[in-house]
Assembly symmetry: C2
Homo-oligomer: 190 residues x 2
């Protein structure tokens, strides 16, 4: 990622229909031949935030956290990038946003210094720390709330450590956030 | 548009925070120096629709319609297209989705043959008919519901006639759908 550090966050939307909870499977669409895992810290918004212009107000607007998988149809995203098309299809299929249970704010001492990992069939693929995030949480909230008003319950996925890669039907993705949260999702129709 | 007819619909998402109703103003973001009006027929979904594979089922899933303005920060969208970035910012600012009151399904005899127009300061800029839509309503619903499950209350904007163009602060956008609906929005802070 170091070769191409963006100046502003790369903002896209996932539809509510992409959310799944543990116990549900990640389904690979027929037209996706390269489904990638991206483990991310999710930031859950607690109040209406519009054009926030200081870091304290941004952090006060955080209700808590969640562990998320920003599943991405990489082949479709690559094609969209090439053509200058939206990313909504590549990022927005049903089941493309596995989310953990809600994490209370005080369960994470420092959200900018917590380990984040992801394994596929028990082989570690991503292992990082939120201290490596290109944009910290208040920066993300200030940027986004300057474009679109955030509301209680909105979820911001904050970016993923290196090591994103493909999964196929039958594989199991596990991921974790420090010693606070762990979750497991099967890939493929139940 | 004829020079570049897409093979599949160009799908992107607008956030709920972009919706406004008559009486509210369209606000031009500081970083937008070219805000365009795109008048569109909105399709309001009435039930859960997942992987719909026939036209009748698609049309039965329609609850009604709305008149919409798909406001677009054209300079930001052009930059995003060039860089292969998402369109979510260009399309998703607060106030970028002016929507009319709900139109009952039976108020429109044929949604594929109704006039659609848009004026700026009473000068007609767009004037078309839904019969010119590249993708008809069941095609849109089949395509989208194959990617993301649609839910009651979801709104699909269906594409705009030629004549999209810029608006500036102080101007007034009017638009209409046959003799069924008309709406007016002011551009600029109230
Ligand atoms: Mg997009
Ligand atoms: Mg990501
Ligand atoms: Mg449009």
């Amino acid at each position: 990622m170091k070769s191409d550090v963006p100046k502003v966050p790369m903002l896209f939307l996932k539809p509510p229909s992409s959310y799944i909870k543990e116990g549900m499977a990640i389904v690979i669409p027929d037209e996706c031949d390269e489904l990638h895992h991206e483990v991310e810290l999710g930031i859950v918004i607690g109040t209406t935030l519009k054009k926030v212009d200081n870091d304290e107000q941004a952090m006060e607007g955080v209700a808590g956290y969640a562990l998320c998988l920003d599943m991405t149809a990489r082949n479709i995203q690559s094609e969209a990038k090439k053509k200058g098309h939206p990313w909504s299809v590549a990022k927005g299929y049903d089941t493309f946003l596995p989310v953990s249970d809600f994490i209370e704010k005080d369960q994470i001492a420092d959200p900018h210094n917590i380990d984040l990992w992801c394994s596929v069939d028990d082989e570690i693929k991503q292992s990082g720390n939120t201290s490596d995030m290109i944009f910290n949480i208040p920066t993300l909230i200030r940027y986004i709330s300057g474009i679109m008003t955030l509301e209680a319950g909105d979820l911001i996925c904050s970016g993923t450590p290196e090591g994103v890669g493909p999964v196929v039907n039958g594989q199991v993705i596990k991921c974790g956030l420090g010693d606070v949260m762990e979750m497991t999702f099967k890939v493929g129709e139940e």
